[in-house]
């Protein structure tokens, strides 16, 4: 049981007072940004990126991991009390959770969400602990061609499968790829897409784009719709303890949600939205009280909340073992690894074993901290939700300014962030997804590297991607992800007509 030994040594690192403090700070911040609508873990990690110059890598990743898990917990609170999901992964939670709160059962809804998140997060982290080393063994056998094909799957999944329109998703993916190309080409030293500007030689900072797309775009978007009214915050009602009946109706959805969430998070078709949808419809079908769905069924909160936390653990799997981020937060964490000069991937478990295992250990610790932060301290987060909108968005823009101006004290960077923000506002207006831009930008350069390595090995023969069996299978899968949904829809439509 080599894994157990490594995990224990990870705990030894994660349990030092300093790292416990980082874990707590991460969980606290994560819950706060999860609770606050409009800002999320991706923006927070992006703003915290400068910390990578100050503290050891292990501490930084313990902090980021806390933010990442914390946001999943906090998002539920907003969905239940405000009906405005704090995170896309908690959209489904709002369906039943808000109805429960309206009927004076906010307490049990929050409790089943928090306990379910804890159960699923812990089981998911355990699954990560024991499956990751297995996946590493497999990953070590992949060549650059296979890696490239794997990244193509991740690109396609993020842009064409999730979201409302494949065309818009893919357009944003290619835009992200373009942003990732800007700067000096690492292999030939030639400047690319820089328009002859010296400022662009180093490439475009991830922080500036992420903060522009998330903070500035969100604020502008909400300002543009300001006159169309605000949401109503429901009071905290009902006991925070689950009754025997609540518990009896919750524990199976928790476990089912976990089983759905983890694998769907782990395959490079990531995203936490899909598992929450699946869990919700499954619980609705299995429930003995299907008539309660839509009017506050506790299963409809328990299942999806477990599913989104389990998938959050699952997303870390391709991220740590393959260096393949499938969510925006994971992508920004990847760029944090890069700023330490570390490349996530199979070698991470060999070269940076202590770092990886202390991060995984901190996930167990963080889950326990978050259960405490989100049940007994729930009143604090309700107060955070009461921050008046005018001052809240003022504060967001001040922090966004630090994110962009802190990079190089340049007003040009600030202007770039504003431009990205205006563009992001238009993206929201016309329902273009944000995730493909960020993931394309961060993963694009790695995909290009694999692409060129594979082409060099094959001496410029592009058929290498389809003659190697594993690579060919992966590419076929990616193609199926794009082609299958519209074809199936057309078939279903023609059958209905016949």
């Amino acid at each position: 049981m080599e894994t157990v030994g490594l995990l224990l040594s990870g705990f030894a690192t994660a349990l030092t007072p300093q790292n416990l403090l980082f874990a707590f700070a991460g969980c606290f911040l994560g819950t706060a940004v999860g609770v606050l609508p409009g800002i999320g873990p991706a923006l927070t990690v992006a703003l915290l990126l400068p910390i990578t110059f100050k503290v050891p890598a292990a501490s930084a990743f313990i902090l980021f991991a806390g933010v990442y898990y914390g946001a999943m917990y906090g998002g539920a609170t907003t969905s239940i009390l405000l009906n405005t999901p704090g995170e896309s992964a908690t959209v489904i939670t709002a369906l039943e959770g808000f109805q429960m709160a309206k009927r004076g059962r906010a307490g049990p809804a929050l409790a089943t969400a928090a306990v379910g998140s804890f159960v699923a997060g812990t089981i998911g982290t355990a699954a990560l602990t024991f499956f990751a080393p297995v996946l590493v063994e497999l990953a070590l056998r992949l060549g650059p061609a296979e890696y490239f094909s794997l990244m193509v799957i991740a690109f396609v999944a993020v842009s064409a499968v999730l979201g409302s329109s494949p065309v818009r998703g893919l357009a944003m993916l290619f835009l992200g790829l373009v942003l990732g190309i800007v700067g000096v080409d690492l292999q030939t030293g030639q400047p690319r897409l820089t328009f002859g500007l010296i400022e662009l030689l180093d490439g475009i900072e991830v922080t500036i784009v992420a903060v522009g797309l998330f903070a500035v775009a969100e604020t502008l978007h909400l300002a543009s719709r300001h006159r169309y009214g605000e949401d109503e915050l429901l009071p905290l009602s009902g006991s925070l303890w689950l009754t025997r009946e609540d518990f009896a109706r919750s524990w199976k959805p928790w476990l089912r949600g976990t089983v759905i969430g983890f694998p769907l998070g782990a395959i490079p078709a990531g995203g936490a939205e899909l598992p929450t949808f699946l869990s919700y419809s499954l619980e609705r079908r299995l429930s003995r009280w299907p008539e309660e769905f839509g009017r506050g069924a506790i299963e409809g909160v328990a299942g999806p909340e477990a599913a989104n936390n389990a998938s959050a653990a699952g997303v870390l799997m391709p991220m740590l073992t393959l260096g393949l981020p499938t969510s925006v937060t994971a992508a920004i964490m990847l760029s944090a690894f890069q700023s330490y000069g570390i490349q996530p991937g199979p070698m991470l478990f060999q070269n940076q074993s202590e770092l990886v295992w202390s991060m995984i250990a901190s996930l167990y610790i963080g889950n326990a901290m978050l259960l405490v932060l989100n049940l007994p301290l729930i009143g604090l987060w309700v107060r955070v939700l009461r921050i008046p909108r005018p001052q809240f968005y003022g504060g967001i823009l001040v922090f966004a300014t630090i994110g962009a101006y802190g990079v190089a004290n340049s007003v040009v960077d600030l202007a770039v962030m504003y431009a990205v923000g205006v563009f992001g506002m238009l993206m929201k207006r016309y329902d273009f997804p944000v995730a493909p831009v960020v993931i394309g930008m961060i993963l694009g350069p790695l995909a290009e590297q694999s692409f060129r390595q594979a082409m060099t090995i094959s001496q410029g023969d592009p058929t290498a991607f389809i003659t190697r069996p594993v690579s060919a299978t992966l590419l076929a899968l990616a193609l199926a992800l794009v082609v299958a949904p519209p074809v199936l829809r057309a078939l279903a439509a023609s059958r209905r007509r016949a």
Binding site: V216, H226, P390, T401, M455
Partner: protein, 156 residues
């Protein structure tokens, strides 16, 4: 509904098309040494540029033929609110390199709050100053982010 283009959507698709055009122009401008002729620095930019170009053409077509699928008619933006936030952002950029971060934060905070319907500018300015100082302290002192030194920041 069909064949009636939505002007704003067409404009957005044209913006994307223009971006794709810029990328093509810059990709052509990358000099390629014959050593790298096969898998050189231009291969990937060409893929990205072509993808963006084709997809923005599809979007343009969709916008011209009755609108992007699934996107309903939009409410007119709240220009007054947007204007205040925009003014705040502009003031922020103008002040940050002259008077310093805290003054810029006060202006940005007060204007944004006004844009979101607050009617108490003096109170907002004070809160903005507190947020600005706290943020400066947190990021500049604890995280070591250099946000420049203005008139007030030296006092900390």
């Amino acid at each position: 509904m069909r064949f009636r283009p939505r002007r704003d959507e067409v404009a957005f698709a044209l913006l994307l098309l223009a971006l794709a055009g810029l990328v093509v122009w810059q990709t052509v401008a990358i000099p390629v040494s014959p050593i790298y002729a096969r898998v050189g620095p231009t291969a990937f930019p060409w893929i990205a540029a072509t993808g963006l170009l084709l997809l923005s053409l599809v979007l343009l077509l969709q916008a011209l033929r009755g609108g992007l699928p699934g996107v309903g008619r939009r409410q007119a933006p709240d220009w007054r609110s947007l204007g205040w936030v925009g003014a705040g952002l502009a003031a922020n950029a103008a002040l940050i390199s002259t008077l310093g971060f805290v003054f810029a934060a006060v202006a940005l905070f007060a204007c944004t709050a006004r844009g979101f319907g607050s009617r108490r500018p003096i109170r907002d300015a004070l809160i903005g100053a507190v947020v600005g100082f706290a943020a400066f302290f947190g990021f500049a002192r604890l995280l070591g982010v250099n946000i420049g030194a203005g008139v007030l920041e030296g006092l900390l």
